[in-house]
């Protein structure tokens, strides 16, 4: 089967060497002890450069190396589960750096926060796949030849093979006739067959035999499985570069998303992404509903359903409404839109001392716990005598602990309260350095309320309005909306990945459960006119059912010869 020389089904190199003292090494192996012997590969140490290359290639494509690389791959994947990864958990990485300031930079040098794209992890799986290809390609060629070849000659001594039995044929049946019926039987059972006949050694009678082989699909399945894995790797590696993923927060009843680059809050394009591939469509969040458990004592407040009701419009078409749920994304314009998060966006208005509106917006707050205590930042750069920054806490259902701290007892907005700590000074926006809308750098700012200032935080319920400190103006909490955090993805190759994965599974099933086996039936006419029938089999690869199968064939053949109907069993 052109397997690596250290494959279990290849001829034993030690035995081979003993056989061929001339120095020809382990053959490419044909799987069975009866197959044609090894090839002309030289394994003597007088190797030139090409010889060394050959030797290296042989080592790389050997079973032992494949096994070693597999185990190394498993081991190398472990650190990525112990240390947060940038791709899956960027906030976790930031936190890790804050918690382990001395260890984290060292780990970062080892690419421990990007394990699965790291040089060392990549080199392991690339070597593994090179080894795999180097192993599979010769096997595929060999298998292609085997598919067109006839089963091998019947071995001289069947008694040395598995499941050997000898039976006496009923009187009056010749060797050729007996073998013909065995041939038909085996053919019907899915074997590829070839009949050999030979005159008896001492002219005593004829010898006929049928050589049969089945289960070629086992090797086909094996090759399909490995080829499909290569397919997955290539599709993910190359095809993934054409996609993109982006995030956008939509406030209910608020702004419209248009599928253009500037409309995303964040955007991660693949290597080969082109902006032209964005299909134009628009999307607006009409309403977001969240349903929470109100009864069960252990699960009070647990979410039961999230539903983002959106209106979408593709170019040249009428607007359409759709629901986006957690397990049911919206497929539109070549993209998939997923509902991955939600929260509250309090609508806040700031007026200057003259009553002129200088800021009004629904500001998305980030949830901090299961009851949606949320934190958000309001920045008012213009219109007031000083730049104003506020760090706000939003409690959907506010309660006060015994220490006086606020917390939320339920994720729905039953008793919403907004508190704000006000800072004035330099927001740091003038330098042109991009800053996150979710964080406030207070280095160049002065805290005016809350904390150690001695001035109580601003505390508002919907509809409330309050004066800002130092006569800066007024602030009002008008209402609160829900927002939905949507992920918008485009991956043109994921269908291919699924196809390859399904092929791999199918190939695996075939290669593990279809046995490859050879069966021989030999009829020898004796001098006294009686006919001896011999049955034997040979497993090619794992075949736990070989012996029952040979016995079954012998049994059915005997019944055929005696004229009885063979029982319907699967050989």
């Amino acid at each position: 089967m052109s397997r690596p020389s250290d494959h279990f089904d290849s001829p034993d190199p030690a035995a081979e060497r003993r056989l061929k003292a001339g120095g020809t090494g382990p053959g490419d192996g044909s799987g069975g002890p009866d197959g044609p012997g090894g090839s002309d590969d030289i394994v003597q140490p007088k190797l030139g450069f090409v010889g060394w290359l050959r030797w290296t290639w042989r080592q790389l494509t050997s079973m032992r190396t494949a096994l070693f690389l597999l185990l190394l791959l498993a081991l190398a994947a472990v650190p990525g589960s112990l240390v947060p990864q940038r791709a899956a958990d960027p906030n976790g990485v930031t936190q890790y750096f804050a918690d382990n300031p001395s260890l984290a930079p060292f780990l970062d040098k080892l690419q421990a926060f990007d394990v699965y794209t790291s040089a060392w992890f990549s080199s392991i799986y690339l070597l593994l796949f090179i080894s795999l290809i180097g192993c599979v390609v010769p096997r595929a060629k060999h298998h292609f030849d085997a598919l067109r070849a006839k089963p091998p000659r019947t071995p001289a001594r069947l008694s040395r093979l598995a499941g050997f039995e000898r039976r006496e044929a009923p009187d009056g049946i010749g060797a050729v006739a007996a073998i013909e019926s065995a041939r038909k039987l085996l053919r019907k059972s899915g074997y590829r067959v070839v009949v050999f006949t030979a005159p008896g050694k001492n002219g005593a009678g004829e010898t006929a035999s049928v050589s049969a082989e089945r289960g070629y699909a086992r090797e086909t399945g094996n090759l399909v499985f490995h080829a499909a894995l290569v397919g997955i790797l290539l599709t993910v590696g190359v095809g993934g570069g054409y996609g993109f993923s982006g995030q956008r927060v939509l406030v209910a009843g608020g702004g419209v998303f248009v599928n253009t680059l500037s409309a995303f809050d964040s955007f991660n394009p693949g290597r080969f992404f082109s902006e032209d591939s964005l299909a134009p469509y628009s999307m607006k969040l009409d309403q977001f509903t969240a349903t929470y458990e109100t009864k069960a004592d252990g699960a009070f407040g647990q979410p039961i359903d999230y539903n983002a009701m959106v209106t979408t419009q593709e170019r040249g078409q009428a607007p359409q409404t759709a629901d986006i749920k957690v397990n049911s994304p919206l497929r539109i314009g070549g993209t998939d839109v997923y509902l991955l998060g939600n929260g509250y966006a309090p609508t806040i208005t700031v007026k200057d001392p003259n009553g002129k509106v200088v800021f009004t917006d629904s500001v998305p707050f980030l949830p901090q716990d299961a009851n949606l205590t949320s934190v958000g930042v309001v920045k008012v750069p213009d219109g007031l005598s000083e730049q104003l920054g506020m760090i706000g806490f939003f409690y959907p259902t506010q309660a006060t602990s015994t220490t006086g701290a606020f917390y939320s007892t339920y994720p729905d907005a039953d008793y919403p309260v907004l508190t704000l700590n006000v800072y004035d000074g330099d927001l740091g926006l003038n330098g042109g350095v991009p800053t996150s809308v979710y964080s406030l750098n207070t280095d160049k700012m002065k805290q005016l309320t809350g904390g150690s200032t001695g001035v109580a935080s601003i505390q508002l319920k919907p509809g409330d309005s309050q004066a800002l400190p130092n006569g800066l103006g007024t602030i009002s909490f008008d209402t609160v909306h829900r927002y939905a955090s949507l992920d918008i993805h485009h991956d043109p190759t994921q269908g291919w990945v699924l196809l390859f994965a399904a092929s791999a599974l199918l190939g695996l099933l075939i290669s593990l459960f279809i046995p490859r086996r050879r069966v021989w039936v030999k009829a020898t006419e004796r001098a006294d006119g009686t006919l001896s029938l011999e049955y034997a089999g040979l497993a090619r690869g794992e075949d736990p059912r070989l012996l029952p199968a040979v016995a079954d064939i012998a049994e059915r053949h005997s019944k055929l010869l005696t004229g009885a109907t063979p029982p319907e069993t699967n050989a």
Binding site: F8, M63, L71, A77, S81, D89, S159, F164, V326, A554
Partner: protein, 364 residues
């Protein structure tokens, strides 16, 4: 009482019965050891032959059972190479038992079946039915499949481990694994009822998918096969040490090993069980990716649970390769199967509970 309380009641009842099964299976092993020490022959099915003239066929391990097969299927079988009969004894347990029913063989030897082994199986079947009832009641009470948090994973997973064991022993006599299976199930159930119990809660939106039914169930089924493979590989290692020790050497006092199949047969059995587990695990991986695409917007993101599911898949892929690599068959590949199941337990017991990631459905 609520349905969930009935479910808990049945679960405790099942645990009690499993405990009896464990004791019965352990007694069987003790009995095997004692009989082996006394110089009697014990077959894989636990039947003891006390005869002054021990037949050639009734040696230790599979040689014994295949010889019984030859004897019972009678006639026609004239020659059979000794090496080949190892694989053929797959069905022989049953035949062996039938012969054993006959009690007195032609040469006057007396064969007795193992009462404790039969009691162990009976208790296991009763325990299984009780636990299945508990599991189904939990599902009815929650109005969904009973595998959505650690407590329910444990319950359904152990039901499947026992179910796979009970199904497999109708085909191959692996009843000698009863101690391991019932012991493992008891430990898992003990941990989960004490530490993981949560009241019935509705499914969070991320779990509201048909894939919950498929993905988690197949993963548990794969785990059940891996558990059986783990046990077989473990015994294979012990058996191999016993076989390679020189005659007369004392070994661990695990004399019952003499009554179990030889290490080659154990290895073949472990392989057959593990590849079934591997196929289920491959499916779990693919189904999980399909579900992740729907729920999280990407089919693969190296989430901690994804990482460990991948690691387990690679270890068992390595195991299957090891079985086909010269020099890695036998004990080395057995160690890989054992490490693989260790990773499965780690993935279930440690990653689910302690690791941070998207698969935070332990309910704890």
């Amino acid at each position: 009482m609520t349905l969930d309380e009935y479910s808990i009641f049945f679960l405790y009842a099942a645990m009690a019965v499993y405990a009896f099964a464990f004791i019965a299976f352990a007694l069987d092993l003790a009995r095997r050891s004692a009989q082996v020490s006394a110089g009697n022959t014990v077959a894989v099915d636990g039947s003891v032959t006390t005869a002054p003239t021990v037949r050639e066929s009734v040696a230790a391990g599979s040689g014994a059972s295949s010889a019984v097969l030859n004897a019972s299927s009678a006639t026609l079988v004239a020659e059979r190479p000794a090496g080949g009969s190892v694989d053929g004894s797959a069905k022989s347990g049953k035949n062996g038992a039938n012969v054993a029913n006959g009690a007195v063989a032609a040469d006057g030897s007396v064969t007795r079946r193992s009462l404790s082994l039969r009691l162990g199986v009976s208790f296991t079947v009763i325990g299984f039915l009780l636990e299945l009832t508990a599991d189904v009641l939990r599902g009815i009470a929650a109005n969904r499949v009973p595998w959505a948090n650690m407590y329910e994973f444990s319950m359904t997973g152990t039901v499947l481990i026992v179910a796979v064991f009970l199904v497999v022993i109708t085909r191959v006599d692996l009843r000698f694994l009863g101690t391991f299976i019932t012991g493992l199930v008891l430990i898992l159930l003990g941990i989960s009822t004490v530490n993981y119990y949560v009241v019935i809660a509705p499914l969070p939106p991320a779990l509201q998918s048909a894939w919950l039914v498929i993905h988690v169930f197949v993963a548990s089924l794969g785990t059940a096969f891996f558990a059986l493979g783990f046990a077989l590989s473990g015994i294979q290692l012990l058996q191999y040490r016993r076989e390679t020790l020189t005659l007369g050497a004392e070994f661990l006092k695990l004399k019952f090993l003499a009554s179990l199949p030889d290490s080659t047969r154990l290895e073949n059995l472990a392989y057959r069980v593990n590849i079934v587990g591997f196929v289920f695990w491959t499916f779990t991986l693919i189904a999980g990716a399909v579900w992740a695409e729907r729920a999280w917007g990407r089919y693969w993101g190296w989430d901690t649970k994804e990482v460990w599911t991948f690691i387990i898949w690679v270890i068992y892929a390595g195991y299957i390769h090891a079985r086909a690599t010269r020099g890695w068959r036998g004990s080395r590949s057995a160690w890989l199967a054992i490490i693989g199941f260790g990773a499965v337990l780690f993935n279930f017991g440690v990653v689910n509970v302690f690791f941070h990631g998207l698969h935070s459905y332990s309910g704890l």
